[in-house]
């Protein structure tokens, strides 16, 4: 058989008869790829025995854009906008992750001010991603009120992001060796007032859900996974910490100056959906703590490294001086050329460990770029978490894993 007519991925195998024979026929149905509770184009092939889930098979690829291949055909600089479209709920932290990887390849360290701004960006991204998760996750389980509260808070953050980067979603804010622009006037004040108001809003969300009996019944003991299993599957981020494993890239391999901040790593104990909820909630508090510290320690100084081979010259000089004009053309068309070699760099993104593997052969484009996206790996755990549970609990499992298809499929 030629490859064009290769068979589609197999459906779940024949249903074993036996103890379930009494229950009659099993049903194989598709949940997704367009289903409101799969948060994107995720297709789950379910084998059901009545209401009980007997097997789950995630099928991915509906949002595949070939990003890793695209990267091989453009300069390192041109790929930054593509990273916005990975986890599109936290584009700022993707931007940071990618440029940190390229900078590691080139042996660049950005000035302190840029490092602190990047930390602020990452934490804003984390809070806004977790808020969206909380709102939609609660909505999936029938708690519609929470959605409005989280979106109100998230809106404030998006306004902050908009005044920093000029857009709300596709931020493209970082540059290799620095940032797109310095903080606009009054921006830190905006963040400061958010940091002051946010814990109260969080208390309210806490009050709405944490001790709510309906919420507890829908999440406690649902989608359980043990620590060893979670590590075996490669889970990271809140999904791993929910099982009680204290692993956070910000602590274990600090980047961008994270070692200077004081914050806790919240962990769960049972590894169920409720724990993952509590962990994310607690993480938002920690993030707002980090934001507070970052605003205090934000130093003055340049935001870009001083390297005319990497950083575009200032506009007024491009317009008036020949050298800078030539530099501008050289950087844009020839890019910068990291030395041959390979590196892997990961950051703690809202969904878990987001890593970029880069291999350079000394040219202006990467020879290979591989993205380790946390959501893709989280999806593997669906089977472990959902089999044996009810169909309605599967919704809670998917919501608690917080996958984003933009980064699953790349």
């Amino acid at each position: 058989m030629d490859s064009a007519s290769a068979p589609p991925p197999p459906m779940p195998s024949e249903v074993p008869r036996g103890e379930d024979a009494l229950h009659g026929e099993r049903m194989v149905i598709n949940m997704g790829p367009s289903h409101p509770s799969t948060h994107g184009v995720l297709r789950l092939v379910l084998t059901l025995d009545g209401e009980v889930v007997k097997a789950v098979q995630p099928h991915v690829g509906y949002l595949h854009r070939g990003m890793e291949k695209i990267a091989e055909n453009m300069t390192y600089h041109q790929f930054i906008p593509y990273t916005d479209r990975l986890d599109y709920l936290a584009p700022l932290s993707n931007n940071v992750a990618y440029v940190l990887a390229v900078e590691k390849l080139m042996g660049i360290t950005v000035p302190p001010r840029a490092q602190v701004i990047r930390v602020i960006c990452c934490e804003i991204a984390r809070i806004s991603a977790h808020l969206l998760w909380l709102g939609t996750g609660a909505l999936d389980l029938g708690a519609a009120t929470v959605f409005f509260h989280t979106f109100r808070e998230r809106e404030t953050l998006y306004n902050i992001i908009e005044s920093l980067t000029g857009t709300r979603l596709t931020t493209t804010y970082t540059r290799v060796g620095g940032l797109m622009n310095d903080l606009p006037a009054g921006w830190t004040g905006q963040v400061r007032s958010f940091v002051e108001a946010f814990p109260k809003a969080l208390d309210e969300l806490d009050a709405l859900l944490t001790g709510n009996r309906i919420w507890m019944k829908r999440t406690q003991g649902i989608g359980r996974i043990g620590a060893a299993q979670a590590i075996g599957l490669g889970l990271t981020g809140p999904n791993l910490r929910g099982c009680g494993v204290a692993y956070d890239v910000r602590k274990t391999e600090p980047y961008s100056g994270y070692e200077a901040y004081e914050f806790e790593v919240p962990i769960g104990s049972e590894g169920d959906a409720y724990d993952r909820y509590l962990v994310r909630l607690a993480e938002m508090r920690q993030s707002s703590r980090i934001l507070d510290q970052a605003l205090r320690m934000l130093p003055e100084g340049p935001i870009n490294i001083d390297d005319p081979k990497v950083i575009l010259p200032k506009k007024d000089r491009v317009l008036t001086k020949m050298e800078e004009l030539i530099e501008q053309f050289m950087i844009v068309t020839e890019g910068f050329k990291p030395p041959a070699g390979e590196i892997y760099h990961a950051i703690e993104a809202p969904k878990g460990e987001l890593g970029f593997y880069l291999r350079s052969e000394g040219g202006k484009s990467p020879y290979r770029l591989k993205i380790r996206s946390p959501s893709f790996i989280s999806l593997q755990a669906i089977e472990t978490m959902a089999v044996g549970g009810l169909l309605s609990d599967l919704i809670a499992v998917v919501a608690s894993l917080d996958p984003v298809m933009g980064e699953v499929d790349r």
Binding site: M74, H77, Q78, F79, P81, Y82, T145, R152, E155, E162, S163, T165, G166, T167, T170, T172, M180, P184, E204, A207, L208, T210, G211, N212, R213, I214, W215, M216, Q220, R241, G244, V245, A246, Y247, K251, T252, E264, V265, P266, I267, G268, S269, E270, Y274, D275, L278, V279, L281, A282, L312, K315, D316, V318, L319, T320, L325, Q328, F329, V332, T333
Partner: protein, 177 residues
């Protein structure tokens, strides 16, 4: 040193009264009620519209200088850098001292992702991202903005550095528009 986590506190079941679900429901309603009296955060779009920051990245457009001359010199840098390849330029010779300008300058707004790279790399400050974010077309051709439309959107933009100011006199006959 292994990393130490801070365990989160799980809420325990709160007895008989909680089992009726009433406390949870009332608490939720109380929070919702309190919000009725707070400042409204919604906006009555389209009667009210959003105030955009000055660095907003909307549709890109070409600008003219204070003498209404096209600033673009068709250097192709923006076409080169544009990540989704939305820009198409054809150059022509022009009779002013600038010598070169765009004959064709198309931006395919279906492809453009408003990344701002064109503005960032342009060595003539000839292309800018505007505050325009609503765009509509009934077919694909309409969404390819040609030079005239882009220039109309951009308008005149007097920048502090007037690179070609000395050409005013000698350009004489052929002010390129």
């Amino acid at each position: 040193m292994p990393l130490k986590g801070t365990p989160v506190k799980r809420a325990a079941h709160a007895g008989l009264l909680a089992a009726t679900y009433l406390p949870s429901i009332l608490k939720g309603m109380w929070i919702t009620l309190r919000h009725i009296f707070r400042r409204k955060v919604t906006m009555q779009y389209p009667e009210e519209t959003w105030k955009l920051p000055d660095n907003y990245r909307g549709l890109p457009a070409l600008v003219r200088d204070d003498q209404a001359r096209v600033k673009c010199v068709a250097c192709f840098l923006c076409e080169y850098v544009c990540p989704p390849k939305a820009i198409h330029i054809e150059a022509q010779e022009i009779p002013t001292g600038v010598e070169k300008g765009p004959k064709v300058f198309d931006i395919n707004m279906l492809r453009c992702i408003m990344c701002g790279y064109c503005e960032e790399v342009c060595p003539e400050q000839a292309i800018f991202l505007t505050k325009e974010y609503t765009t509509v077309g009934v077919n694909r051709e309409e969404m390819i903005y040609h030079k005239d439309r882009l220039l109309e959107m951009g308008g005149i933009r007097p920048d502090p550095i007037k690179k070609w100011a000395h050409l005013t006199a000698e350009a004489g006959s052929g002010t390129h528009r």
